[in-house]
């Protein structure tokens, strides 16, 4: 599974992309975020305000309840302001 991080999520985790083996019990985006928080202080910090973080599975935006299924790539972004 490839995980991608953008903007301040990347700055806080310290990495832009990584390959990981997800634990079997992680089946949704919400569970993946909960697992991310346990991966050390950088990840705990990056996913601290997890309610504002957006996720995309294979380049399509999804809700936290979305099932990871056979996803190849999951990306995390902060929200954007402006307009």
């Amino acid at each position: 599974m490839r995980l991608l991080y953008f903007a301040w999520v990347r700055e806080k985790t310290g990495i832009g992309a990584e390959e990981v083996e997800l634990p079997r019990e992680v089946t949704t985006i919400a569970e993946l975020i909960a697992w991310q928080k346990t991966r050390g202080p950088e990840f705990a910090h990056a996913f601290e305000r997890s309610e504002v973080i957006r996720a995309a599975i294979d380049k399509t935006h999804v809700r936290p309840s979305a099932s990871i299924g056979a996803a190849r790539e999951i990306a995390f972004f902060p929200p954007v302001t402006g307009g």
Partner: protein
């Protein structure tokens, strides 16, 4: 048509290209999104728009095809920039062309309000990162 690019765009040249050889277009509306020097009371000196290759194009194409499904458009172009931008710089361009003025105006407004990077609702594609 959609384009995601780092370089600036020339609005006049883009309009000329879009209507080149066309005699069926009666209305062209453009929307240009530019960078402000402040956000939520903070002064901004620059920002960097990050771009997720593949997803940005996919989302912009989805917005464009939704616009074509809702209004009778003859042509459209969406350009979204990425990279480092300073106040006053162009960020996004939407050009819509239709036979009569209403569809072009409607879509220009619609596209702007749905544009990734300029709307809280569709902000997942381009991610702004303040350099201040």
């Amino acid at each position: 048509m959609i384009r995601v690019q780092e370089q600036d765009f020339d609005i006049g040249a883009e309009i000329a290209k879009l209507k080149s050889g066309r005699t069926d277009i009666g209305a062209i509306v453009t929307f240009t999104g530019t960078m402000r020097d402040s956000s939520r009371g903070q002064t901004l000196e620059a920002m960097t728009l990050e771009h997720y290759p593949g997803m940005t194009e996919q989302e912009l194409a989805r917005i464009e095809s939704e616009a074509h499904a809702r209004w009778p458009l003859q042509e459209s172009l969406i350009i979204h920039r990425y990279g480092r931008l300073e106040p006053g710089d162009n960020i996004v361009l939407v050009i819509t062309a239709s036979e009569h003025r209403e569809p072009a105006f409607h879509v220009s407004y619609f596209s702007k309000s749905w544009m990734p990077g300029t709307s809280a609702g569709h902000d997942e594609v381009c991610v702004r990162n303040c350099d201040q």
